[in-house]
């Protein structure tokens, strides 16, 4: 290596006087903005609001389950609470949280671009999201939904709750997701900084790319399925309802053909954040760049071929069950590879346990449990016992919350200084992270045991024998909730300070750290030219 690498990170700019937050002011400037950073920020507040709302429903569900019979709400209200918890968390929070909120903000910065490829489409995607969210709210206000977030037929075609409106909401939100996906694919193809090849892109970009491909290819299937469900409810055309000659299991095939890849829409961006945070706070190049990048693409591809593992007890053929089981095991391999790669990145690194890294470590532990417990569910005969029990509930919360949400928190803490120009309190961040870790495990470990012992999910009343575990789980949810409230407290509190964040608070090597915090409206003063890889902390020729 003869090339002398010019360090990107040590450009310690002070806060710029004029940046994207204060260059234009007033509500109108926000509502008509096409700046990816502002759209990302609007998405961020929206998804956080959805997270709060979904979280309130979660706490309600857990509180009701404190005692075996009625604790505070009736069966109908309980059924609505878990449905709304699921629907809000999935459609309004997790799916857009990382790509649309954090991704929107950092993707162009990571690429060294001024904006995304289609800024107006970007704003449109936000408005479509808001319309979808209003429909979801409308559904809650006009009777709620009691079908579970999966809308299984024929229950959903016969339920007299506000299913149609919630279906419309999910349908509309799908378009928002497709818009974001299309936009990101074009941006990644066309707007990389001079010198940035596919193999010198930051791994967050690879993860986002794989996610965008799934968003664009899978979401239309959900759209069509929900439209068919809507037509079934309104015109009774007989696709899913057996009384009209339809097949209810067909709905499950359609639904999971989207919703399984959607699980990867949720987790891939989370993995992508971890791939940024771990090298930065290890001050070491990522181990196995290509393995991580291509495993994202492999996951995206195989994820389309495993939907039948949600249906081992649905009456689908034994051959289909066998094939889906095997493919499910295959999809585990790229995830395992990533975990080992992150660990290897930390080996002989210089680990700085700042808040984003704490969350990344938490992610590794919780995601490992989530992934490993997936083995039980991929193994057919064991899954038959565990299917539709709390074991499944615990498993996907370990992946979705322990994985994606914790990665989202890692990313939020990582890029918060960049987004708002403020540092937050590290000591409060440590307290909150500890509470979240303890609370999360208290909430969900008992659910693995309950599920293994045969406690079915979506139960309002339950057998007395499960009370101690349910009770423990409910207490855990309070600790978890407290931890999250503390995060909200110190992050929001930091906004009251003056801008104090340096351009590069963590010493990262990717391009977003070469501009000021918060960035100027056009991101970079001059077009950045890439002279080194995204994680070249210690190539020969470069002094740390």
């Amino acid at each position: 290596m003869t090339e002398v690498i010019t360090p990107a990170a040590p450009v310690h700019r002070g806060p710029a006087d004029l940046h994207y937050l204060n260059e234009h002011r007033g509500l109108r400037s926000w509502l008509t903005t096409v700046d990816h950073k502002r759209i990302g920020v609007m998405y961020l507040w929206s998804v956080l609001l959805a997270f709060l709302l979904g979280g309130i429903f979660a706490m309600l569900v857990r509180l009701e389950l404190l005692t075996p019979k009625k604790t505070i709400i009736e069966a109908d209200a309980y059924n609505q609470a878990f449905t709304l918890h699921g629907a809000i968390m999935i459609f309004l929070f997790i799916i857009p949280a990382i790509p649309a909120a954090l991704g929107n903000f950092v993707l162009p910065l990571l690429l060294g671009a001024k904006d995304v490829a289609f800024p107006r489409l970007n704003l449109a995607s936000y408005y479509v999201y808001v319309i979808g969210a209003l429909f979801a709210l409308g559904s809650m206000l006009t009777g709620g939904v009691d079908t579970g977030w999966t809308f299984y037929t024929p229950y959903s075609t016969t339920s007299n709750t506000s299913v149609s409106m919630m279906t419309m909401a999910a349908f509309i939100l799908g378009f928002s997701s497709i818009f974001t996906g299309v936009n990101f694919i074009a941006t990644i193809h066309k707007l990389r900084a001079p010198g940035m090849s596919w193999h010198t892109m930051p791994l967050f970009v690879w993860g986002t790319y794989a996610t965008a491909v799934i968003q664009v290819l899978a979401t239309p299937v959900l759209g069509i399925t929900l439209l068919l469900l809507l037509m079934e409810r309104v015109w009774e055309i007989g696709i899913f309802d057996p009384r009209l000659g339809g097949d209810p299991v067909l709905f499950q095939h359609f639904f999971w053909f989207y919703s399984h890849p959607a699980v990867y829409i949720m987790i891939l961006p989370g993995m992508a954040i971890i791939s940024e945070v771990v090298p930065t706070f290890s001050k070491k190049t990522i181990f196995g760049y290509k393995a991580i990048a291509y495993s994202s693409v492999a996951i995206a591809f195989v994820s389309f071929l495993v939907w039948g593992h949600h249906m081992f007890t649905s009456g689908q053929s034994d051959l289909a069950t066998a094939v889906f089981s095997f493919l499910t095991f295959l999809v585990a391999i790229p995830s395992a590879i990533k975990v080992f790669n992150w660990l290897a990145t930390m080996y002989r690194g210089s680990l700085d346990l700042k808040a984003p890294m704490l969350y990344a470590i938490m992610f590794l532990l919780l995601f490992a449990i989530g992934g490993l417990t997936g083995i039980f569910l991929g193994t057919i005969s064991v899954d038959v016992h565990l299917h539709d029990t709390y074991f499944v509930v615990a498993h996907f919360h370990y992946v979705m919350m322990g994985g994606t949400v914790i990665a989202f928190l890692a990313g939020l803490h990582y890029w918060w200084p960049k987004m708002f120009g403020r540092m937050y309190s590290e000591s409060w961040a440590r307290v909150a992270a500890a509470l979240i870790f303890i609370g999360f495990n208290m909430t969900f470990i008992p659910q693995f045991i309950m599920g293994s012992r045969g406690m079915p999910r979506r139960y309002y009343n339950y057998l007395d024998q499960f009370q101690p575990l349910h009770g423990f789980s409910t207490f855990g949810s309070w600790v978890l909730g407290l931890g999250l409230l503390i995060v909200a407290g110190y992050l929001l509190g930091s906004l009251r300070k003056r801008c104090d964040a340096p351009g590069s608070p963590w010493g990262g090597m990717t391009l977003e750290w070469t501009t000021s915090s918060p960035p100027i409206t056009h991101n970079f003063e001059t077009t950045p030219v890439l002279t080194h890889g995204p994680y070249d902390y210690s190539l020969p020729g470069r002094r740390a």
């Binding site: 299984y152 034994d318 089981s325 690194g349 470590i361 193994t379 057919i380 064991v382 045969g454 210690s538």
Partner: protein, 313 residues
């Protein structure tokens, strides 16, 4: 590892349950190994390679092909073994022996109905002989339900448009819980049943006579039992509180208003009609959601329920 089984898994009701548990325990051991490996390395790295100062220099290690192949291929081999193991035991559960006792199961909101080959029907309680293979042939009258007997590690969805089946072979006498595992609405969590495993003689006797209690118990007491076991209690309260159906408290002998018809007096005939043909006269303010119990209750059982309601002042 029997201590672990008893903590984390329900009692094993059949030899098949034992097989599934063996696999479950094998997976736990594998997972524990990998989790300890990951968490151990992570903890060690966090301690050993903690940042000493801002000038730390780290080595540039971009990849290591041998290591990467190792951690791709070893999991692949383990997972392939688990796949075949799981598939094999699954196929055992899918193919019932030819001589199995066949019981028809109908799921509906929110009860289980069983019909034996000789035409005898029961609700929410199915008796099976110990040591014999029993095959359940299932369908639903409304939405999707799922027949889940954790003690036997078996589960199968119950569909409205086709038959599904499941079999089990209990190995000792006892009573096991039957759950509905597919969400089916308001009464989903009350859609419970019992699988009662009898000795061969007891099973024969039960089949021939109906059970002991049904034949000899005082009517009102029998009614009280039926009120619980036939599922009346999930919709009709005894304390006057409103559920899906009218409360039984003080209802006998009163006039009650009827949706779309003149008021009626709640007497023996009205109660009998409401049990056998619930849609005939629906009490105003309630939905006509009660299923018929025609053919599900012996004559003496209907009398017992009427007597029970009469006694609820």
């Amino acid at each position: 590892m029997n201590w672990l089984r008893s903590i984390i898994l329900p009692a094993e009701g059949s030899a098949y349950a034992r097989q599934v548990d063996d696999l479950y325990i094998a997976i736990i051991v594998i997972c524990a190994f990998f989790f300890v490996l990951i968490a151990g390395l992570l903890s060690y790295f966090v301690w050993r390679y903690r940042r000493r100062g801002p000038d730390d220099v780290t080595p540039h290690i971009s990849h290591n092909l041998k290591l990467e192949l190792l951690w791709s291929i070893v999991p692949l081999i383990i997972l392939t073994v688990l796949f075949f193991w799981g598939f094999n035991s699954y196929m055992v559960a899918r193919v019932a022996p030819g001589e199995a006792l066949e019981i028809q199961v109908t799921g509906k909101k929110w009860l289980w109905q069983f019909e034996y080959p000789d035409g005898m029907r029961t609700l929410n309680e199915v008796h099976v002989p110990v040591g014999k293979a029993v095959k359940f042939i299932m369908s639903s009258e409304d939405v999707i339900h799922s027949f889940y007997a954790p003690s036997f590690r078996v589960k199968m969805d119950v569909l409205p448009n086709r038959y599904t089946e499941l079999w089990l072979q209990p190995r000792e006498e006892g009573v096991h819980t039957l759950f509905c595992a597919e969400y089916c609405g308001r009464g989903h969590s009350d859609m419970l049943g019992k699988i009662v495993v009898d000795s061969e003689e007891k099973f024969q006797e039960w089949q021939a006579l109906g059970d002991e209690q049904t034949r000899t118990m005082p009517l009102a007491e029998l009614g009280a039992l039926l009120y619980e076991s036939k599922g009346c209690s999930s919709c009709h309260s005894l304390d006057g509180s409103r559920r899906e159906g009218p409360s039984f408290r003080g209802v006998f002998g009163e006039m009650t208003s009827i949706t779309g018809g003149p008021p009626v007096k709640v007497d023996e005939n009205y109660l009998r009609e409401s049990i056998l043909d619930p849609q005939a006269k629906i009490v105003a303010g309630f939905e006509g959601i009660m299923p018929t119990f025609q053919g599900l209750l012996r004559e003496r059982e209907i009398n017992a329920l009427v007597e029970f309601i009469k006694s609820r002042k």
